[in-house]
């Protein structure tokens, strides 16, 4: 579990860090540092394993049926990245403590940072691809929070949104790619995928898989043409930029290239796509970086360029190129993090990042200047620094590859040009900022930063230097395991050293250094030329135009389908349902009626059906006279209840009857506030159209019912009928199904009812409706609101009604009845009290709040289910026994009856809650202005 806990620590830590910020500003920094150290500590016992050639895999079942396991993997590559994420993360925590100002919330910053750190750690330590993708998306989300940390700034919000859009799009493509990979290989486990390279490359789905995965990689790692989000993400606080754009976020893309290298690389498609994008990005980034006046803008494009370099290396597909790629990942992370931090210090102490104003800072901060200059020299690839070593390997590889390509000389030429541009912008960073005259109009007088703000930069710069001078004694073992586990094969022969003799790579390095210096000297004419031409191009314009176009498209489609009229939507829905229902009728050749013998007709049924049909027509005809319609619909409900009695469903009849009463009371209450008459509709055509649709729907359902009823069928009822008494302990099978066989469904249903009640309460909260003081015919209401005879009668009836309810509840397990019916009867009895005596009178005698009833009911029902766990049975298993009570005799007690009690309470509570809220509306104190 150690790997899992290491990933989990930052997530849990995020909450702790946020809490710690209440104690004081430094506390959350300390907490964040502690969390990072704890994550390292969880990894520490396994750190030696990759060096011994072992890949540690820890796996736990999560959703085994879906092939999803929590699976973590620690090999050389994962170790390298975990080291970068946690190590540089620790330095960032320290740095940010001094960077953030008094106005910035420390807790929020460190909390987001921890979330991001955990997500990154999750990516690199994942063994399962789907799990990797989850963390991948989490980095997109948490980086969104980090980039938009200064929410009050518009460019921060825009930059964050752009980063989220682009990387989110890539994440979506990546999901598709992973699903295809899983489909090809038959497993989402990396160990299997990495071992199936030949299978994947030979598969017909290889190209779509590759394209989707690369889309994810290129968007994340800001490869051309998706590079444009990265510079805009620079609106983030500098510690965030230093973390996201050196060691983490953008490195997730190249990490994936390295991770899937054995599975996907080695084909012409891979070569051209990956190295093509890499080369374009390398050149473009280096070119644009030179012309950026913003310090962070320069670093952003330089990051894009270096990511292009790494991508190009992996694209070349040779083992040696992959080793160089891994090496450059390490080197770039160290020098770029330190450069960003240095840029942050300069911004912090000088108040601007504009290189047209920052000059001659050497005089003000020589120490920081030295650090920044060493790091920038590493970025330029100056000998004795780490950047030089990996750049040498890179140059050597391009020369090596070019021998096998037609027109191959172009590749070394272009990368040398990119190298020269890199030297030029590094020179600009050094010369423009620290020398080149006096500062122009700075907001603050620059000075050295606090001692501890420099420490992270010092550590990184020392690393650049040590690796650059003595690579074999420092980085070599780590690079060896990381590269070996990237390739999943034994390492190729390579030699980490400063001096390899005079070879093409060295010549290219020298040309780049010289050429870079030359370009920098010629910068004035170059700048002028750039401003006139290419400088006007901005990918953001194209992005915004595309986004606008998409929004417009979405709007027009929405307008086409949704006219804003619910009435029309219902019409479309019904018409579609009719079309779908009618089509099979037309196509099929089966006769409508089956051969099952029917029941004979009788006069009573005919009369009742006639009454129902007349009442239905009356409801439709008089629906504008709303009270009349309410009476006629009551008749319909009554006949339906009679039908239930007729066809052997006493439980249904009881339920239908009591629901009918509650529904009518509800509709009456509502009608009090709704218009009681409606104007006749003028649009005759619409009436005819709706009539036609209604008749078709009616004919269709009638035909369907007829077709079913005249056919014999198989039922699973036998099981319930046989097991009801021996298994459920009750002879009313319907009730036993509700509270026992399908108890879990019933629990869901009463939850829905409770939610409907709560929803209604929430909707009615604070609602002000003007109650009319006259009825529909314009007559004033009767002054005698609570007639004496009715009030007296209902008071006498209440105990009787409650007794009936208890009786129905208790006998429900064996005779028609049960919690639903008893609950409805109780509600009716109580509602009648309100109707006859008024709310005030009733509330003096009864608690007015029915929320507790609902809560208790749900709790009892749920607890009855839990109780069976205590005895080792599945949830909601019921039991029963027979008690011999003195006098009463034998009495059966089933645990399902407790469940039914829960049902009862919920039904009573929810019904009362709904009706009392509605009824209470006009008792709300009227607004003063209505009292004139």
């Amino acid at each position: 579990m150690t790997l899992f806990f290491s990933v989990l620590t930052p997530f849990v830590g995020a909450a702790l860090v946020a809490l710690a910020s209440r104690l004081g500003r430094s506390h959350s920094a300390w907490a964040a540092g502690a969390v990072t150290l704890a994550a390292i500590a969880w990894l520490a016992p396994s750190l030696h394993l990759p060096f011994g050639g072992t890949t540690l895999i820890q796996q736990y079942d999560w959703m085994p049926a879906l092939g999803l396991n929590l699976a973590f993997r620690l090999d050389g590559l994962a170790l390298l990245f975990a080291g970068l994420i946690l190590g540089i993360g620790l330095l960032i925590v320290l740095y940010a403590r001094y960077y953030l100002s008094e106005r910035d919330s420390m807790g929020r910053f460190y909390s987001y940072l921890m979330l991001f750190m955990g997500s990154m750690l999750g990516i690199v330590l994942s063994e399962n691809l789907i799990q990797l993708l989850v963390f991948w998306e989490l980095t997109s989300l948490s980086s969104f929070l980090l980039i938009s940390y200064w929410q009050h700034r518009e460019e921060a919000r825009h930059g964050a949104r752009m980063a989220l859009t682009v990387t989110g799009l890539g994440g979506f493509a990546l999901l598709g790619g992973f699903l295809l990979l899983g489909h090809i290989v038959g497993s989402y486990e990396l160990s299997v995928v990495l071992a199936s390279g030949d299978l994947i490359r030979a598969h017909p789905l290889y190209l779509p898989t590759l394209l989707l995965v690369l889309l994810g990689v290129f968007t994340k790692s800001a490869q051309f043409p998706f590079h444009f989000w990265l510079p805009h993400a620079m609106a983030a606080p500098t510690p965030v930029s230093a973390y996201l754009h050196s060691a983490t976020m953008v490195k997730a893309g190249v990490f994936l290239l390295a991770r899937l290298f054995p599975a996907l690389s080695g084909t012409p498609e891979w070569f051209w796509l990956v190295s093509g994008a890499g080369l374009a990005t390398l050149l473009l980034g280096a070119y644009v970086a030179l012309f950026k006046h913003d310090l962070k803008g320069l670093l952003a494009y330089s990051t894009i360029s270096h990511l292009g370099l790494i991508t190009l290396l992996f694209g070349l597909s040779t083992p040696l190129a992959a080793v160089a790629g891994v090496f450059h990942i390490i080197n770039h992370a160290t020098f770029k993090a330190s450069l960003f931090m240095a840029a942050g210090i300069i911004d912090h102490e000088a108040g601007t990042r504009d290189m047209r104003r920052l000059h001659g800072l050497w005089a003000f901060m020589p120490y920081t200047a030295t650090l920044a200059m060493v790091a920038a020299a590493a970025m330029a690839g100056v000998p004795l620094l780490n950047g030089f070593l990996s750049k040498e390997m890179f140059f050597a590889e391009t020369v090596h590859i070019s021998e096998t390509l037609i027109g191959g000389w172009l590749l070394p030429a272009l990368v040398t040009l990119a190298g020269a541009l890199g030297v030029a912008y590094s020179l600009r960073f050094i010369h423009d900022v620290f020398f080149n005259g006096e500062p122009v109009d700075l907001p603050k007088t620059p000075h050295e930063p606090p001692r501890w703000m420099k420490v992270p930069v010092e550590i990184l710069v020392v690393l650049c230097l040590v690796v650059g001078v003595a690579p074999a004694f420092t980085v070599a073992p780590l690079l060896a395991v990381a590269a070996a586990d990237t390739l999943q094969t034994p390492l190729p022969e390579y030699h980490l050293a400063l001096w390899h003799g005079i070879n093409p790579a060295l010549v290219m390095s020298l040309i780049a250094l010289g050429g870079g210096a030359l370009i920098y000297l010629m910068r004035r004419p170059l700048f002028a030329w750039h401003e006139r031409g290419l400088g006007r191009l901005d990918a953001r314009i194209a992005y915004n135009a595309l986004l606008e176009w998409l929004f417009a498209l979405a709007r027009s489609i929405t307008r086409l389908l949704d006219t804003g009229s619910l009435q029309r939507q219902v019409l479309f829905l019904l018409a579609a349902a009719l079309a779908l229902g009618i089509a099979p009728w037309l196509a099929g050749g089966t006769p409508l009626a089956g051969n099952r013998a029917g029941l004979p007709l009788d006069a009573v049924s005919l009369t009742a059906a006639g009454a129902l049909i007349v009442a239905t027509f009356a409801t439709v005809w008089w629906h504008r006279q709303r009270f009349v319609a309410l009476v006629t619909i009551g008749v319909v409900g009554l006949v339906v209840a009679l039908a239930f009695i007729k066809f052997s469903a006493p439980d249904l009849a009881l339920t239908q009857l009591s629901v009918e009463i509650v529904t009518i009371v509800l509709l009456l209450l509502a009608l009090y506030f709704l218009p009681q008459h409606a104007a006749p509709e003028k649009d005759r055509a619409r009436l005819w159209r709706d009539g036609a649709i209604a008749l078709t729907a009616g004919a269709g359902t009638a035909a369907l019912a007829w077709a079913v009823l005249t056919r014999p069928y198989d039922t699973i009822a036998g099981y319930y009928l046989e097991n009801s008494v021996p298994g459920g302990g009750g002879s009313n099978v319907v009730n036993v199904i509700l509270v026992d066989f399908r108890g879990y469904d019933t629990l869901g249903e009463i939850t829905v009812l409770a939610l409907a009640g709560l929803g209604i309460v929430a909707m009615l909260q604070g609602l002000q409706l003007t109650a009319p003081n006259r009825d529909a015919a314009g007559r004033p209401w009767d002054a005698d609101a609570y007639p004496v005879i009715m009030a007296t009668l209902t008071r006498i009836l209440l105990p009787l009604a409650l007794l009936v309810a208890v009786f129905i509840l208790l006998r429900g397990h064996n005779q028609p009845g049960g919690g639903f019916i008893a609950g409805l009867i109780t509600s009716v009895a109580l509602i009648v009290q309100y109707l006859a005596n008024g709310a005030q009178w009733t509330h003096q005698r009864m608690a007015s709040d029915s929320h507790p009833l609902v809560a208790w009911g749900l709790a009892i029902a749920a607890f009855t289910g839990l109780a069976s766990w205590l005895f080792g049975y599945p949830y909601l298993t019921s039991t029963y026994g027979h008690l011999n009570w003195p006098v009463v005799g034998e009495f059966e007690l089933a645990s399902a009856m407790a469940f039914d009690l829960g049902v009862f309470l919920v039904v009573v509570g929810a019904t009362l809650m709904i009706l009392l809220q509605l009824g209470g509306l006009h008792h709300a104190p009227p607004k003063p202005r209505q009292q004139h």
Partner: protein
């Protein structure tokens, strides 16, 4: 008898659909109520029609009808009450906030001035 029940279900559906297509909230609620009658009856008769054989186990019973559709419909009746209540309260809320009882929930000029 089967034909009669089928006819009843058809009539209830037709009435329900016609009312559900009206523009004001109250007829729509009536229409939904009619439709739930139709649907409940339809579901119930899927167990076929049988007279005098309720699914209550006893020694004297001659037979039993299918209890499963009954159990389904019983909860459906209660749930449709919850739904009716929710919809009608939604209609009230809309009436209070936009000043009319049209289902489209759009504010009309004459209501705003009223």
């Amino acid at each position: 008898m089967e034909a009669l029940i089928a006819l009843v279900i058809g009539v209830l559906t037709a009435g329900g659909v016609f009312l559900a297509l009206r523009g004001q909230t109250f007829p729509v609620v009536l229409g939904l109520t009619l439709m739930s009658y139709a649907v409940n009856l339809f579901l119930f008769v899927m167990g076929r029609l049988a007279i005098g054989v309720p699914p209550v186990i006893s020694a004297a019973a001659e037979g039993y009808t299918d209890p499963l559709p009954q159990a389904l419909v019983l909860t459906a009746i209660v749930i449709s009450f919850g739904m009716t209540a929710f919809v009608i309260v939604l209609a009230l809320k809309a009436r209070a906030e936009i000043g009319n009882d049209h289902v489209d929930g759009l504010q009309r000029d004459e209501d705003r001035n009223a």
